[in-house]
Each structure stands twice: as C-alpha cells, then as structure tokens.
Subunit: 376 residues, 2 copies
C-alpha cells in the first residue's frame, strides 16, 4: 500500500538516572525511567512539524506501520501515514507509551533498582500529569521546543488536556478526542469493577504474581466490562444481534450467543498482551485525573495560546458529548480559539479508532491551518 | 404506620410430586417443586380480585410488610399495602418467588431427590416460561381461575409477558414495567460478564462449592457490574459525584471515591443473600427469553383479551424505552387495549422500585378501571 509507513520499530528513551530523578506527583522518585516510543516522518529543519500522539488506556507506542513480520499494523494506522490525517509526508509524528504501562515503558512489571526485584505494588502511584512530565523529557531529548500539536482519544485526550494545562507554551495546537476533563462516578464505577475483578482473582496475590501464574481470569473479566462500554447498543445490535453460536456445546453456561463468544475471545486475547497490575495503575490514574484540580477548567487554561479541536462521537455513552462540551466551554471562557465537532457515528467510544473518514477530514484541515499559521 | 401491612410471613407451596412431575421447557423433569410465596389482603368471594406480583432478577417472595423482627420491609412495600397502588384493602396480592432461585424455591442449591445431594450444575436449565408454568400451579392451588392482573418490573415484566403469551385467558390485565420482550446483545453482554466473574472465582469449582467456601468475590464483582447498569449517569452524579471517602487508607487500590466504597459494599451485601449458581441460571433464563420465539410479538399476543399498561422510565438505559415501545406496538397490532407511559425519572432502571409516586398513580387508576369493568 502506497499510504502505508511500511516497517517501523519501537525505540526506547531512558532518562532520570539518579541523582537526577524525576519527582512524581505523589512525591516519590522512580529512579531511571524508560519510555517506549515510535516516530514516523521527518523532523523539519526548524523543528516546527512535530506532533505528539497520545494513546488510550490499553494502547502502546506502536501507533502506525508494521512491526517486522507482523500482519496487523499499529492501532491508529488508518490515521497516520503518507497522505493520511497525520500526514507523515509533512509532519514528524511521535507516539509515546505511558509510564505505569506494560508495553516497554517503566511500570509495575519493571525491576525496582532498589531491590532488584519486580516492583509489583511497590511501584508508586502515577498520574496523567506524571505521564505527561515524562513525555516532555522525550520531546526535549528529540530537540523539539514546541509541538505543532498533541492529539489523542480517551485517556490520550486526558494527556492532551494535561499538556494544555501544564505546558501551554510547548504546544501550538491540541486535539482532545472522545475524552473528559475528569471522570464521572459512572466512569469510575466501571473502572473499579475491572480492578475488583483482577484483585478477586486468587492468582493476583496482592500483585506478586510475576514468575507465577498470571491472574488471567480476573483480567479477562475486567476487559470484557471495558469492552462493552466501548461499544454502543447499535453497534452491538448490528454486529451480533441475538445470533446463536453455531458450535454450542452441551455443557451449561458455555457461550450460547455470538456476543458471549466474542466477549470471551476479547477478554482472553487481552490477557496475552496486558499486565494486570498496569490495569490497576492506569485506570486509577484516569479516575483520579482532574485537569482543573477542582478549580474551574477555564481558569487553568488561561495561559494557553493554542488552537484547539475537540471531537466527540454521538453514540459514545462512556465519554458522552456533554463532557467534550465542558472542555469547549472552558476553552471559550478562557478566550481560546476552540472548534468543536460531534461526529455522527454508531460505533460508541470505539468510534475514535473506527470512524476514520470523518475524523481524518477534520484533523487534516485543522492541522493544515495550524501549520500554515506558523509559516505565514 | 397505618399504610403498612405489618408482620407478614413467607409460605411454601409444594407440588408436582412424582409421578405427576412438571416437564420443563428443556424436556427434563424436576421432581417435587417448592415455591416460596406471600399473600397480602383477602381474596373476595368471587375470587376476582387477585393480583400476581412478579419479582426482578434478585428479588424474592417478600414484596411487602415486615418479617418478624426485621427492620427492612419487602422490596415493593411502597407500592403494596392498605391504600397503596396495589391496595390490599381491595385486592388479594400474591408474590411468588421463581424456580432456579435461592430464596425458598427449588433451585440449584436444593437437594436433588435422585442423588440426595445438592444439585449444583445438575439442576436443569429453567426458562421464564418454566417460572410462569409453576406460578400457574400456585394460582390453581389458591383456587383462582383468572387473575385481575399480573404485574412486575425487569425480569418480573418478562414473566408478565409470558403470562400474556401463554395464559391469555387467565389474566384480565397485565402491567409489564421497565422490561423487554427479548434481551439485546448489550443486555446479554452485561449478564455474561457477571457469569464470567462468578465462574472465574477459584472457589466456584464448577458449581460444587456447597458446604465449601462460597465464591463470594466473583459474585460480588458480578453484582457490582449489575448495580452500575441499574443506575443512571445522573443518579450516580447526585448520589456520589467525585466525593472522596473520608477514611481512605494508605494501602493502594482501596476505595478512594465514595462510589467505589458503595459498589464494594453493595457487592459484599449481595453475597450474603444470593447463591452464585442461581445467578448463572436466572441470568441465562433472562438472556434466552424471547416472548415471541422469533415470530412477530403481535402474532403470539393474538389470543389475549386483557387491558395492558406498559411503563418505562426515561433514564433507564439498561431496559430503554424503545424496548417498551416494541411491546406497546405489538399489543396495538394485535388489537389489544394497551396504554403506554414513560415516566420522567433520574433513577435509571432502579426507577421501577424508586419512582413510587408517579408509578403508583398510574397503576392505581389502571387497576381501578379493570376492576370496575368486571363489576359492571
């Protein structure tokens, strides 16, 4: 495919070696930190074309292109590449994994340098702000003073908001997608059920399951709950309706309906790529996130001089449009040049990964304008 | 309180002694069956004032009044009693527990007469139709030829629909509330997550946990998922918002937010009164329920000559109004005298238990009219 990035590789950036440790929001220090990241396209001479892509809860640094030998591309490949929304012919795209995760960055499954054992629950609590503070180090390391844009959906959007609040001079634009400035009790509740499912697994062992049996059943149930919230009533209806599985066995409480089989499969696959403790840490970071820390959001955005594009999706009931509108309202009250678009979609929260055509159109033109404004 | 029924007692009706066993929809026979039930008010001489109340998934026969020494009344006490919607000064109210349950009726925790051991997963699959078929035996035993009404919310509403389809000559009216003629894939998905949480618990032991440790953690997670779906975004916001617990401990991943503490408490209390295997059997009965069995619903209602009142609640996203409207539409197409009301409420699916004033008003007048029509 001419619009594919082809083969790409994950890189690793290590920093904050003692004694130059990064102090986390909790006050704890983490020792040397590694961030997994990928880049696509070329940084221009003026270093003005860099865009930071921020991933959602279970995402990773591999946003686009193919890893050697892989048949599946990165998670936002339909949006990133030559001629695509995030056009790698024009822009230098960076995607950074988050700390606390399990996809190559420092997290609860990493070795604690103080004990030479795997952290487990000795890993300090991390916040969305901590994630962004590490990304700033990566951007500095890459020699970029100001990003053309920071963009991401769901938890990626929370990181975008954190950039807007804490690094207002380091971004020319921001694209928070299908996200919220703070979780509602319902969003917290769904995350809490996932955490409880993991901690209910007898193999969880208070987080000390490394080198033992992984609490896969609990993690699988957690993912199933999450997955339901990512879809919509309509998308489930058109994908499964009430169709029965053709291979129903005689045993009781095996999957009867296709939707049941799909959920089990989804839960199961997830356990092969995700660390249960990372599930706990990252969902907790999302729940505790409050971009404005109790103040009016417009107040904490007052130093931002960037163009903002807020995108929501009509059938997204997990991150409803009302939450995006709160962000837009705060931007307007802070005098920020903000555009809002609600995309009509049946895909629910997953729409930010699937509703490519409309989303790409919006983002492409928005970025073009921001980029032209510099060149002018 | 003058409108309270005071002290009430659960009664037990046993029937279908071999060789007169009841054949279940699956073709299996169950041996002697016991139904727990309660009655309130007096049956009139003509036996025309009997109303059958049908409970939701986790309900029981104790719908109203107080058990001796109890501080909490039955689950629909605000609707049943002297002068209330289901007025015990005028009507004879019966509430029957369902088979497959764990509140005094025959279920997976009962003794299998063939082996003298607890059934566990040897208990046959039961359906909503099986539940109704046993209720008919109870009604016959009480000497009632025709019910004034059958009423219930959620799974209770499914039983009402089953009465409408299979016993059209035995009801003068029907009140299906916050229910559906068949589960959508999303409703199935939420139930399936609950089942998976139970079966993931290492204490579940393929259902053979009786006399051993009960799989309480899995059951608790299942209940938490369910509980979220019973509330609405708004009711959660007004009940909890993002308030933090005042007694947060230093340990990681304990409950930080009030909503988390509430969910844990709710899950925990549920495990003290419910059998995990009953959770599996009853949710499966709900998921497999299809009042019309694939035909148009209006076709299977064509023999019904009863007045129908369908009630839905605006913020109920688990059993959305659209599903109630399908029932109303089918009634209309079958030439049935059906009234529909969507009650404005913030309580979500729980509204059928909480939105008493509006619901009581509707039901009281509806029943009055049905009752007057006989007397005329």
């Amino acid at each position: 495919m001419s619009d594919s990035l082809g083969i790409v590789e994950t890189k690793y950036f290590s920093f904050a070696e003692p004694p130059n440790e990064l102090t986390l929001e909790s006050g704890e220090k983490l020792g040397s930190i590694t961030l997994a990241y990928e880049t696509y396209g070329e940084l221009n001479k003026e270093k003005t074309n860099a865009i930071l892509i921020l991933h959602a809860f279970s995402g990773d640094a591999h946003a686009a292109g193919f890893h050697k030998g892989a048949r599946k591309p990165g998670w936002w490949d339909n949006m990133i590449g030559p001629g695509k929304a995030f056009d790698t012919e024009k822009y230098f795209i960076i995607c950074s994994n988050v700390i606390g995760g399990c996809q190559g960055s420092t997290g609860p499954g990493s070795i604690n340098p103080k004990t030479n054992k795997i952290y487990g629950l000795d890993f300090p609590m991390v916040t969305i702000k901590d994630m962004v503070n590490t990304q700033v180090q990566l951007i500095n390391f890459l020699g970029i003073k100001k990003l053309l844009s920071a963009a991401g959906g769901s938890m990626g959007g929370m990181q975008v908001l954190q950039w807007m609040v804490n690094y207002p001079k380091k971004i020319r634009s921001a694209i928070p997608i299908a996200t919220s400035a703070k979780h509602s009790p319902m969003q917290i509740a769904f995350n809490e059920v996932g955490r409880q499912a993991i901690m209910a697994d007898s193999h969880w062992l208070n987080g000390n399951y490394y080198n033992k049996k992984k609490p896969v059943k609990g993690l699988s149930v957690a993912r199933m709950v999450g997955h339901i919230t990512y879809m919509s009533e309509n998308s489930m209806e058109s994908k499964f309706s009430r169709r029965l599985k053709t291979d129903r066995g005689p045993a009781k409480f095996t999957a009867d309906f296709e939707v049941e089989g799909y959920l089990r499969y989804t839960g199961d696959s997830f356990t092969k790529r995700f660390d249960p403790n990372s599930y706990l840490y990252i969902t907790k970071a999302m729940d505790l996130f409050d971009a404005a820390k109790g103040k009016p959001l417009s107040h904490v955005l007052k130093n931002l001089d960037a163009q903002v594009l807020v995108i929501a999706f009509k059938s997204d009931w997990l991150y409803p449009t009302s939450q995006s509108k709160e962000i837009v309202k705060a931007c307007k009250m802070a005098g920020i040049n903000a555009t809002f678009c609600e995309i009509d979609s049946n895909y629910g929260h997953d729409a930010f990964l699937l509703e490519v055509e409309k989303e790409a159109h919006l983002i492409k033109h928005f970025l073009q304008k921001v980029y032209n404004d510099i060149e002018d």
